[in-house]
Symmetry: C2
Subunit: 331 residues, 2 copies
Amino acid sequence: MYYLGIDLGGTNIAIGLVNEEGEIVERGNAPTGRERSATLILKDMADLALEVMAKAGVGFDQITSVGVGSPGAPDVENGVIIYNNNLGFRNVPVRAELQKYLPLPVYVDNDANCAALAEGLLGAAGGVRHSVTITLGTGIGGGVIIDHKIYSGFNNAGSELGHMVIEASGKLCSCGRRGCWEAYASARGLVEMAREAAAQAPASLLYTMVDGDLSKITAKTPFDAAKQGDAVGAAVVDKYLDYLAVGVVNIINILQPEVIVIGGGVSKEGENLLVPLKEKVARECYGQEGIPTAELRLALLGNDAGIVGAALLGFPPEKRALVSLFGPGRK
Amino acid sequence: MYYLGIDLGGTNIAIGLVNEEGEIVERGNAPTGRERSATLILKDMADLALEVMAKAGVGFDQITSVGVGSPGAPDVENGVIIYNNNLGFRNVPVRAELQKYLPLPVYVDNDANCAALAEGLLGAAGGVRHSVTITLGTGIGGGVIIDHKIYSGFNNAGSELGHMVIEASGKLCSCGRRGCWEAYASARGLVEMAREAAAQAPASLLYTMVDGDLSKITAKTPFDAAKQGDAVGAAVVDKYLDYLAVGVVNIINILQPEVIVIGGGVSKEGENLLVPLKEKVARECYGQEGIPTAELRLALLGNDAGIVGAALLGFPPEKRALVSLFGPGRK
């Protein structure tokens, strides 16, 4: 049997036909056209599903379910996206609309949760029962997997890990609170820190690398400067990693997942990020004699996590434990 | 059938015989004598269990299980307390020792987790699937209930909610980290804040109430001063509640439990604590249109939570959902 996984993004709709091993065997892609109504967007998603099925020569009788990962707050039980600003969604009945065209069970969840499910079952945390995936992008996305399932609280609005305050009365966050982890440890937080440091140090490589045009500084710039021996760049990276570690240790102390997966743009720094982060986390951990602690790993599935995670929404519990033993994370 | 629940404290061992409704029908009590070996303490626990059974006229055939709530880090699977400083425990085989005297299944978990299980199933959060219980004592204890079960991570060391940093590079905490929630929002944190404020304001009621002897200030003092119209006391309480709210909102954003239960010494302030705390939390919450959020409630079970929660460890899953519909929290 197969599972359809749909990753609904602000720019693109990506779909995959996923087999029992969690592998994508056929793909489709279309622009979201987010200025359009939800009804039209969902019609396109269904068309794309039919196209992918035709390409793969797979009929409805060979498909267990359709899963949709969407930005926004989901009503998982009813297959509705309650609210998303970016797509202009308000109480969009994703399941009901898709079932007009696809006579299949339809599961709906938040996209960050889907990515966490994919990394948690098949990716960097494959084989593990409890994991947390953190996505270091413009903001900080998070997903919590407990017992091979997404955990997002009684209202499906949990795992807003980026909106954990780590600096009471600190920097203003986009959410309106002060001192959220996201304001410091996201790519945007890093860029802001780097720009401030460069502005203070025009002799630094961090400054000269962008010819003094601070708007050109990206999350990569301070890492690059640090690699070339720039003390200012290195200090920015070190401070950034301190903030990142504070939140990671909080997650460990609260949730004690077996694995924490780090994904998103900043995670492309790879070992340059992971090795010093691990050191800082080990130093900060509320450790107790003889008790093991969470392992930090880099995300494995990249952009496919969204599709695969959406498909996995339809995997029954016994298959989830099983598939997690064979994913790329275990190979 | 009955369940034995044992609350092992640093000073006392409290035991209860608990019925299917989660009510304590017989009790026993003995000093812990923590300077003694674990073997002797556990022997006393077994004797106490036999005594309580005799008093109630209940035989082994009428008891489903024995549950033990102990301070320290548990190995739930093997019924061992890995580590506790206060009792001097290192890898104490609680289950194996008790089973020398009691031919029954023995369950072992951390005492804060047991209290959270009791409040979560039968107490202030009775009838709810996901809840968090916070205990505001000398430190901050925490317990997380997900799907009517204790969740404490892959190593049973999770829900250290007090050791979530809310003020990076803030006050030093007893755990060695800086800025832990516990350093601000525990009874000790409150007392320290009150003493500092009183020292600066000798004309305040906060100061005169203790005749200038700051060592006499307890967690109750600033609340009492505030009630009598003292601006300095009120400011301390307000600042304390700000810190308390920061952590509560973090827990909501991460875990979205349906109910957060507030227990421990400071919670005796009752509505004086709860009403302003709710206001601050509502203001801080990362709310989204149309999404319900966690409710804050005061703990209901007091000291019995430890005994009842330990007994509940032996309740099978289907009974847990059921008992939670009939507990004192529902009456």
